[in-house]
Amino acid sequence: MFWRKKDNAADQVVEEAIVQELEVTEEVVVETPSVAATQDLVAVELPKRNLTKGFKSVFSRIKFDVENLEELEDVLIQADFGVGAAEAIVSEVKTRAKKAGARSEAELKTILTELLTEKMTRADSSLNLDSGKQPYVILVVGVNGAGKTTTIGKLANYLVEGGAKVTLGAADTFRAAAVEQLETWAQRSNSEIVKPVTEGQDPAAVAFEAVEKAVANGSDVLIIDTAGRLQNKQGLMDELGKIRRVIEKNLPISEVLLVLDSTTGQNAMTQAKAFTEVASVTGIALTKLDGSAKGGIVYAIQDQLNIPVKLVGVGEGINDFGFFDAKEFAIGLVGEN
C-alpha cells in the first residue's frame, strides 16, 4: 500500500477500478493507515505478494533430535547463516527445547520455526511509501550482477499494476547496455524512463534529471538504477554518495534498497555494511531466491546490522517477486511438519 495526495482525483477513479479488478484475482491486504497518513492522503492498495514457492526446505534430508543438534548447525551453515548465527540459533533451540521438554523432531521443528519467525519479524519490513511527499524516490544500489535492473523492472511493474505512475532513472551509465536493459523493462512495465543524454554521463546528473522529470510528469514513484559496484571500490562508493546528495537537494529519498544476490555467502555482510555507510540503506531486496536452499545470510544482516529485508525475487519473470515475510521464510526453510 502506498499513500497518494487526494487532489489526484482524476487518476483515482481509474485506480479504484484497478484495485477492484485486482481484488477479484488477488488477495488484497488491508492495512491500517500509518501515522504519516493524514486526511490529505488516500491509500492506494497494492496487491498482496508474498511468496513461498521460493523457499526449499533445508531439512528434507536430515533428521534431528535434541541429542544431535550438531547436524542442525551444519544445515544452517549450508543455508549461509554463517558460523556465528548458526551456533547462536542452535544454542537457543537447545535452551527452548529443554525448557519445553521437547524431544520429537516435530516439536523441534516448531521451536525452530517460531524462533526464526520471531527473530526475523520486523515492524519496518514494508516499503516506506507513506510520507505523502511525492514522488517517492527509491534508490537502488548493489554489487555487480546482483540483479538490480531486474528487481527495478519487477517492482515498477508491480507498482504500475497497483495504479501508480512510475518513472525510472537510468543512472547506471557505466555498464555496457545497462540503459537499454532498463529501457526494455520500462516498456514491459509501462513506466517512463530518463536516460543519460551522452554515453558515460555523470550518473548524478542523470539522477538529477530523473528527479526533475518525475516531478514534472506527476509520478508517484521514481526508481533510480545505479551501476553495480564492489563495496571496496572507494571511488565508486563516493560516487554513490554524490548521487544521493544530488537527489536529496530536491526530494527526500524514501528508500535505499540494497539488492543482494541470495547465493552470496558471508560477503553479503560486508556488502551491507559498506553500502549502509555511504548510502544509508533502508531495506534489502533479496534476489535469485529460487531453486536451492539459501539466503540465511539475511538473518545475520537483520540481526547485526538492523536492516530489514523488504523484497524477494525468485526468477526472471516479471511477476517473480514478492514482499518478505518472516513466517513464510521460516516455514519455507524449516519445512512443514
Binding site: 549461509d80 554489487v143 555496457a176 537499454e180 555467502g265 535469485k288
Partner: protein, 493 residues
C-alpha cells in the same frame, strides 16, 4: 567481527609456545579455528569437512610430531592441502590443433559471463590470437547489445545475427558462428551463453545443445567469487547438465575470500584457469592456486614466509653441517654458506610489508644487516681456497692482502676470523651434545611459537639443529666490537 585467520591462529598457538610438541587436542583446537575460517570464507561445508579430516590425519602423523616446529607445520599442511585441491600447477587454455579453438562460457546469471567474454577476447588478442565473440545469450534483455558494446571496446568482432531479448535460436547462432569463424579465419571463438539460475532444466538443455553443436575445446564455468554455500550445488548442476573443462572466478577484487574456488575445484576436480576482477577490460589474469590458498585463509603471505624460511634453512643441509662440525671440518666456506642463507632470510623483509599484523616480525628481521653479510662475503671471497679451509694459516700479511682485496680493514678481517673461530668452537661443543634448541627457524620468527623444549643431551637428533643459528647466538652473546648486539641473528659484527 571475524578477525583474520592468522590472528586467530596466533591466539591458538600462544598457549603452545612453551610446548615443543602438539598434542591431539592442540591440533583439534587449531583445526576448529581453521574450519571456522574456511566457512567464513564461504568454502562449502562438505568440502571443509573432508578437508579438515585430511589435514587432521596428516597433522597427527609423524610429519608434525617430528617437525622442528609443529604449529607451523600444521599451517604448512593446511596450505599444501589447499593448493592440492586448487589444482596444484596452474593450467592454461588448450588450443585446438586445427583452428578455430572454441571456448564456451557457461554460468549463473550475474556471474559476469559477458564482461568476462570481453576480457578473455582482449587477453587472447594480446597473445596473438584472432578471437571472435559470439552472442548466444538471447535471453537476458540487451545481452546481445552489451556484448557488442564490449566487443567494440576491446576491438574484437562480434558475431550476433540475432537481436536477442527472447528472440532467436542460440544453438543455430552457435553453429553458424563456427562456420563464420572458419570462413573468416578467426583462431578462437568465444561463445557467450545465457545465464541461468541454479537448476533450470530448459536452459541447461540449451547450453548442452550449444555444446553439442559447437564441440568446444574448452567449456569454462564462470562463477562469482562471492557465492556462498550454494557453490557446490551450482557446480554439480553445471557439471551434470553441461559439463565443463575449467573454471573462471570473477569479481575477485571485492573483499570476498573466494572460498567458492575451493568448493568448485574440490567437488568437480576441474582446474581454475583464470581469475577476473572489476569491469576494466584488463582486469583478468591466469589463476595462481598458491595465492588463492593464502587468500582463502586470509593469511597474507605468512605462509610464503614460512615456506621461504624452510627453504633457507634446509634441514638436510643443517644435518650435513652439524656432522662437519662434529668432525671439526667446519670451514670459512661453510660459514659463508650459512651467511648467505641468512641473507635469503633478509630478503623476506620486503614481503613483510604485505603481511597483516607483522609488525613484530618486521622489527626482528630489521636486525639482519644485509650489508654486513655482503662485507663478510667480500672478505671470505678475498681469501684463497686454502685459507678458507684452514684459517689458522692467516698471518699478518695474508690478512693485509685480504683486507685490501675486499676493500675492508685488517680489523674487519680480524673480527671476522674471531667470530668464525668462536662459532666453530661453540658449534663443535654443541654438536657433541651441548644445549641445542632445535629451532626450525631463527628466534623471533615472530608470531609463530618457537619450541623451547629441552632435549635429552645424548639424543642423536640434537645434531640436526641449525649451526648458523647457533653461531649467531654465540656471537650475540659475545658481540664483536662494532656489533649490533640487539640482533637476534648476531650478525652485528
Amino acid at each position: 567481527m571475524f578477525g583474520n585467520l592468522s590472528d586467530r591462529l596466533v591466539e591458538t598457538f600462544k598457549g603452545l609456545r612453551a610446548k615443543g610438541k602438539l598434542s591431539a587436542s592442540d591440533i583439534d583446537a587449531t583445526l576448529r579455528e581453521i574450519r571456522k575460517a574456511l566457512l567464513e570464507a564461504d568454502v562449502a561445508l562438505e568440502v571443509v569437512k573432508t578437508f579438515i579430516a585430511a589435514v587432521r590425519e596428516r597433522a597427527l602423523g609423524d610429519e608434525v610430531s617430528k617437525a622442528l616446529n609443529p604449529a607451523q607445520q600444521v599451517v604448512q599442511i593446511v596450505q599444501e592441502e589447499l593448493i592440492v585441491i586448487l589444482g596444484g600447477e596452474a593450467r592454461r587454455i588448450q588450443f585446438a590443433k586445427n583452428p578455430p579453438t572454441v571456448i564456451m562460457l557457461a554460468g549463473l546469471q550475474g556471474s559476469g559471463k559477458t564482461t568476462l567474454a570481453g576480457k578473455l577476447a582482449k587477453w587472447l588478442k594480446e597473445q596473438g590470437q584472432t578471437p571472435l565473440l559470439v552472442a548466444c545469450d538471447l535471453q537476458r534483455p540487451n545481452a546481445v547489445n552489451q556484448l557488442q558494446v564490449i566487443g567494440e571496446r576491446v576491438g574484437v568482432p562480434v558475431f550476433a545475427p540475432e537481436e536477442g531479448n527472447g528472440k532467436g535460436n542460440p544453438v543455430s547462432v552457435a553453429k553458424d558462428s563456427i562456420k563464420h569463424a572458419k570462413q573468416k579465419q578467426f583462431s578462437v571463438v568465444i561463445v557467450d551463453t545465457a545465464g541461468r539460475l541454479g537448476i533450470d532444466e530448459e536452459l541447461m538443455k540449451q547450453a548442452n545443445d550449444i555444446r553439442k553443436a559447437t564441440d568446444p575445446d574448452e567449456v569454462l564455468f564462470v562463477i562469482d567469487s562471492m557465492i556462498g554455500q550454494d557453490a557446490v550445488n551450482v557446480a554439480k548442476a553445471f557439471e551434470d547438465g553441461v559439463g565443463f573443462t575449467g573454471v573462471v572466478l570473477t569479481k575477485l577484487d571485492g573483499d570476498a575470500r573466494g572460498g567458492a574456488a575451493l568448493s568448485v575445484a574440490q567437488v568437480t576436480g576441474k582446474p581454475i584457469l583464470f581469475s577476473s576482477t572489476g569491469e576494466g577490460m584488463d582486469a583478468f589474469e591466469p589463476f595462481y592456486p598458491d595465492r588463492m590458498a593464502s587468500r582463502i585463509l586470509d593469511m597474507g603471505d605468512i605462509l610464503s614466509l614460512i615456506e621461504q624460511a624452510q627453504k633457507s634453512f634446509d634441514e638436510q643441509e643443517a644435518l650435513v653441517m652439524a656432522e662437519k662440525m662434529a668432525k671439526d671440518a667446519f670451514t670459512l666456506e661453510d660459514f659463508l654458506d650459512q651467511m648467505q642463507q641468512l641473507k635469503k632470510m633478509g630478503s623476506l623483509r620486503s614481503m613483510l610489508s604485505m603481511m597483516p599484523g607483522a609488525g613484530k616480525l618486521k622489527g626482528q628481521l630489521d636486525n639482519i644487516d644485509e650489508k654486513e653479510i655482503d662485507r663478510t662475503e667480500a672478505i671470505i671471497r678475498a681469501m684463497t681456497p686454502k685459507e678458507r679451509k684452514d684459517p689458522k694459516i692467516l698471518n699478518g700479511s695474508r690478512r693485509l692482502r685480504i683486507a685490501k682485496g675486499s676493500g675492508m680493514t685488517v680489523t674487519d678481517v680480524n673480527s671476522l676470523v674471531n667470530r668464525f673461530e668462536q662459532a666453530a668452537k661453540m658449534m663443535k661443543v654443541m654438536a657433541k651434545g651441548g644445549n641445542p634448541g632445535l629451532p626450525g627457524m631463527p628466534q623471533g620468527m615472530g608470531a609463530m611459537p618457537r619450541p623451547q623444549a629441552k632435549k635429552d643431551k645424548g639424543k642423536k637428533k640434537a645434531k640436526s639443529g641449525n649451526p648458523a643459528k647457533r653461531a649467531a647466538e654465540i656471537s650475540g652473546i659475545e658481540p664483536p666490537k662494532q656489533g649490533n648486539s640487539g640482533s637476534s641473528f648476531g650478525l652485528g659484527g
